[in-house]
Symmetry: D2
Subunit: 332 residues, 4 copies
C-alpha cells in the first residue's frame, strides 16, 4: 500500500508517522519524498480505512501486485542510477563491454581501450567464474579484480564484475562499481538479501527459466533489503530451440518497462550464444527499448578462455556500437 503525504509534511512529522506505522506492525520503505510504501503486513489483512485516519496522509493506493517496491505504482518516474557521473536509465544508451573472464593484463587493456574508444561506459570481466563443470577454468579471483579496476580507471570506465556467493561481496564491492548476479543465482535468496546491504548498484540477470514476475520478485529482495539501485538484464531463456544457446526474449524489455521503474538491459552475447547473431540482436535490443547493452568482447575471440563462440572481436564491436547509436537516435 502506498501513502501519499501532504506536501507540507515536515521531516519530523514524517518520522513520527513512520514510527507509528512500525508500532502498528508494518514494514515500510521510502523510495522518494512524500511517499511511503508499506511493504508488509497489509494488503490482505488490514483495512484501507485504517490509514485514512493517519495524519498527513493525502491519498492511499493499494498495491495489487506481490512485488511492491519494484512496481511502477510505487514510484513516480523511472529509477535513474548515477555512478561516478555516469547515468543509467536516463534515456541514454549505456554500454557494458568486456571479456567473459579476466585472463591477462594485456587482454583487459585491449578490451578497455576498445570499449573506451567506441564510447562504452563500463568494462566487464569475471574474476570468479560459475562453470557448469567443476573441471573448467574457475577465474583469477582478487588478482583479476585488481586488473579490472586498474584498466577501467585508466580509461575512465565503470567496472562491472559478477558475484557468485555472499563471501565474495566484500571483495568485489571493493574493486568493482557494479555487482552482477548471474542467471544461476537469480533465485539465490540468501545472496540477494546480502546485496541489499551494499552501496553498489546490482545488475541482476534473469534466470534462464525465470518469468518476468520471478525476476521482479528477486529484485524486490534486494530493494526490500535496502539497496534501491537494481538493473534488470534479459539474457536469454531456455526453450526447445537448440540451434541457439538461449532464446533472447526481447518481449521482456517492453514488458518489464510496463511493470517496473527499474532500468532494463539486454545481453545478446548469452542471449544467442552465437557470434554471428550478436550484432543483429544487439541492434534489436536497442530498438526494443533497452536502457543498456552488455557485450562480450575479446581482442582474440577464438582464444577466449570461456564463451569463445559468442564473443565478438574489437573491430566488430566498434562497428556495432556505431549502428546501435544510430538506431537509438532514430527512435527518439
Amino acid at each position: 500500500m502506498i501513502l501519499e503525504l501532504e506536501q507540507n509534511t515536515t521531516p519530523e512529522q514524517k518520522e513520527k508517522l513512520l514510527e507509528r506505522l512500525q508500532q502498528m506492525g508494518f514494514r515500510t520503505a521510502v523510495q522518494e519524498e512524500g511517499r511511503i510504501t508499506i511493504v508488509h503486513g497489509v494488503d490482505s489483512t488490514v483495512k484501507k480505512e485504517l490509514f485514512t485516519a493517519l495524519p498527513h496522509v493525502r491519498s492511499i493506493t493499494p498495491l495489487s501486485t506481490t512485488s511492491k517496491l519494484v512496481s511502477k505504482a510505487s514510484k513516480s518516474g523511472p529509477t535513474i542510477i548515477e555512478v561516478k557521473g555516469k547515468k543509467i536509465g536516463d534515456g541514454n544508451l549505456f554500454i557494458v563491454a568486456g571479456p567473459c573472464s579476466i585472463e591477462t593484463r594485456e587482454q583487459m587493456e585491449a578490451a578497455a581501450k576498445a570499449a573506451f574508444e567506441s564510447g562504452a561506459q563500463a568494462l566487464r570481466g569475471g574474476a570468479f567464474k560459475p562453470r557448469t563443470s567443476p573441471y573448467d577454468f574457475q577465474g583469477l579471483g582478487e588478482e583479476g579484480l585488481k586488473i579490472l579496476r586498474e584498466t577501467a580507471d585508466r580509461y575512465g570506465l565503470l567496472a562491472v564484475t559478477e558475484v557468485m556467493d555472499a563471501s565474495q561481496i566484500e571483495l568485489a564491492a571493493k574493486y568493482a562499481d557494479i555487482l552482477q548476479i548471474g542467471t544461476r543465482n537469480m533465485q539465490n535468496f540468501s545472496l540477494l538479501k546480502e546485496l541489499g546491504k551494499v552501496k553498489n548498484p546490482i545488475l541482476l540477470k534473469r534466470g534462464f527459466s525465470a518469468t518476468y514476475q520471478d525476476l521482479l520478485m528477486s529484485a524486490e529482495y534486494i530493494l526490500s533489503a535496502g539497496n534501491p539501485n537494481v538493473i534488470l538484464c534479459e539474457r536469454g531463456i531456455r526453450t526447445f530451440e537448440t540451434h541457439t544457446r538461449n532464446t533472447l526474449d526481447l518481449n521482456a524489455i517492453p514488458a518489464l518497462h510496463e511493470m517496473t521503474h527499474l532500468p532494463v538491459f539486454a545481453d545478446p552475447s548469452h542471449g544467442t550464444g552465437l557470434r554471428s547473431l550478436v550484432a543483429p540482436m544487439a541492434k534489436a535490443s536497442v530498438a526494443a527499448g533497452a536502457d543498456g547493452i552488455m557485450l562480450e568482447i575479446h581482442p582474440d575471440p577464438d582464444k577466449s578462455y570461456s564463451d569463445a563462440q559468442q564473443t565478438i572481436g574489437l573491430e566488430a564491436f566498434a562497428k556495432l556500437v556505431k549502428q546501435m547509436k544510430v538506431i537509438h537516435e532514430a527512435m527518439i
Copy 2:
C-alpha cells in the same frame, strides 16, 4: 548434392544431363541457371566420383543438411519474390497489414486505406479462421475473400489470406495473391504438398513449437513439390513465460538468414499477444533484419472479432510504420 554446370552448357545438354540423372534414379531440381540440385537418393548412398564423370559438370558440392532446396548452399543469393511489381526479399521492408478476420466491407475499407497511406504493400485478412474453440467465430468464407480482393485492388495492395485445408486452396488462390499457412498447420504435410502445386507465393508461419530446422523442412516440402516462392515467418514460440501470449524469438531472423536463401518475416502481433508490445517488437524485428513485418490492425481494435488484445489502431499503425522505416534506413 549440387552440380555446377560449365558456363557454355546449352539447354539441350542440360536437358540430356537431367534425363540421365533421372535414369540414374535421382530426383533433381533446378533453382537457377547452370546449377542442378539433386534432392533425393544421393548424399549417403552414392559416391561423389559418379558425378565428376558426367559431361558439363564443372564442380560438385555435397549438401550436408537434410533440407536441400531451402539451404543457402543450393542457391546463389537470396530468393527475391515478385508479385504484381512488388518485391519481397530485395532489401526493402515489406509490410503486410490488416485485421485478423475479415468482418465487414467498412472494416476492410478502413484498414486498406490506412495500410495504403502509411506505405504498406499488402493487405491481410482471414476468411477461414482456425480457432482453438469450435464455438468461436469461424470466418466469412468466400464472401470474405471477395471483400478482401476488392478492397486490396482499390488501393493497389497485394492480398494475403490464410488457407487451413487443401480444399480451400483453389478458392483462396483465386482471390488472394499470397497464401498464408498458420502456425498450427506448419507440419500439415498433406497441405504443404498441395501448396507446392500452386503459383502463389506461400507465407509459412513457424509452428509455435517448431525448431528452425523443422520450419525449413516444412518449406522444403513446398519447394520440392514445385513452388519456389516461400516466405518464412517468425510469430512467437510457446515457452514457460505466461505474461505474453507467445515469446517472439527474434534470434530466428538472423539465424534463418544464415541457413536459407528464403525471405524471413516477423509477426509481432501474435509474437507478443499484447497491443502495447507490438510497436517496440515490430521495431526490434526490423533491427534484427526482418525482410517484412506482419501486423494486425483494425479501425476499432477493441471491437475486433478476434485477437482484439493484440491488434493496434490505425493511427498507432501509421506512426509505427514511420519509425520502422527510419530504423530500416538507419541500418543500410
Copy 3:
C-alpha cells in the same frame, strides 16, 4: 449449460424441448438420456432463468469451462467405448501395439501374433506416414491398410491407423476400426470437424506443445461435430531436455481424468524416443492411471523403417505386458 430433465420425460417431450431450444437459437447436444447440453450461444449472453421456465427441466448447471461436451460436468460417469465387443475406458487396461509403419505382410503378421499372444486388444500400423522431411519413407497407402485389416482379423484384434488428411478418412475408415490423429494434426481443425462425421472412435494424440486445455478443445471439435467416441493420448511434449526425444508428461493422465469423462491413453514410445526407457515409462503410465497404452513393436526393431530407436522387440513386449498387468491389478 446442462439441463437435467425430469425422469418421466417422454422422448416426444424431449424432442419438442430440443426443437424449442433450437428456435431460441441454441446449439444443443445429447450425450445421454435425460440430459441436454447447450453448447453454444448461452453462458455469457443468456440468463439461467430463461431455462427454468422450460417444461420437463428439473435442474440447470452452467458450464464455466470453454470445453463443454468433453467436460466431466456434462456427463455422469466415464465414456466407455465399445468396438466389436472390446471395451475402452471401463477400468481394464487396453493395449495397442504394432509397428510405426506398415512395411510388409511378414512384419505385420509377426507383430500381430505377438500382440495377440501377450493379450493386446489392438494392432496399430501407419499407412500414410507424416514425416518431417519430404525425402523420408512416406508409407504404403491403401495396400498397407489391406495388410493391416487382414492381419488384425486373423488374430481378432482391432485395427488402428493414422489419418493425416480429410481426403484419407473414407479410405482409412473402411479398413481400420479406430482412426488415430497425430501430434502435428491435433489442431488441424478442418480435419477434426470431418472426424466428427464418422462412426469410428478417434484416438487423438496430444500436440507436442499443446496444453491440456488445447487438447480438450480439439476433442470438443470432434464431439460437437457428432462423434462422441474420442480417446485422448499423452505422447510426450517438447521441452528444453534433449536427452529424450520428448518429455512424457504423465501429470496429464490424472489431470485429464479430473477434467474430462473421455478415456486417456499414454504412448511411451514417442514419449521417450529411447528403447530402453519404453518399458519403465509404460509401467509408470499404468501406475498413473492410464486407460490404455500404445507401444511401437517390431519383429526386428533395428530394421524398422521409422522410429527404430524407440521401437521394442517382441520378447521385450511380451515381458512388459505381463508387468503392466501386475501393476494394473495391484492398483485395484
Copy 4:
C-alpha cells in the same frame, strides 16, 4: 580416465601410485578399492600410453563424458548410501515425508508419527525457506532444526532439511542426517563445493530448468570435492503447461539410472503442485524405478504455512504408502 589396479596391489603401492599421479599433475579420486579415477588434466591432453607404463595398472578406460565421478563407467554397481543402519539405493523403496516448513512441535510430532507408522524412513522439514517473495514466511531457523531432530529421534527416523547457503551448512549438518539442496540452488556452485566437505549425504534436487547433464555436473561438483554420497531428485521441470505447477519428468528416472550410479528419487508434491495428482504420480514414480519418494504431508494440509495446495493429509499418505509398496513389490 579410470585405472584398474592389479588385484594384488598393496595399499602402500597404491599410495605411491597416487602420489606419482599427482606429481604428474593429475587430480585423482578413489571411489572404490582397486580403481583410480583421474578427474582432471587428462583426457584431451595426455596419451593413454603414459598410464600403461605405470606399475600395478591392469587396464585403462578413458571417460568420454564430462561428468566423471558420477558416470556409471567410473564405478562398478550402484552407490548404496547407509545412514544409521538405513540404506538408500539398495533396491528397497526409501520414503521421505514431512511438511514443507517446520512450524510447531505438534505439527512435526503428528507428521513424524504418521511417517513412522506407515513405514517411512525419513522425516523432512524446512527451517530456512527459500521463498520467491521476500514477504513470505521464511522459516524458524535453528529452533526449527531442534524440533526436527527431536521428533525424528523419537520415532527412529532420519532427519532431512534444506540448506540454502554455505553459512547454514554447519548448523544444519549438526541437526540433520541428510542435507537437501533445492531446485533454485542446484547450480549454486559455491554452495556445492562446500557440500563436498561434509559427511552428510546430499539430496540434490534437479533445477526446474536443468537438463540431466546439468544435474549430473552439479553432482560432480560435490563428488569431486570429496563427498561421494549424493542422491539425485527429480522434482518437476518448467514447461509451457500451466495447469500443473511443474511437469514431473519421470523419463529422468530410467534415463539417470543409465547415466549414473547414484540413487534417484522423485518428488511428486513439487512435481505436480496439485494435491489430487500427488498419489497417482507417486505411484508412477515407483513404477518408473525411483529409489525413493519425497512427499509433503501435514496433519492439516490446508493450514500449512507453505505449499498447502500440494500437501497431502496423514490418512491419504498412509493409504498411498501401502499402494506404492504393492507396486514396488510387483516389479521385483
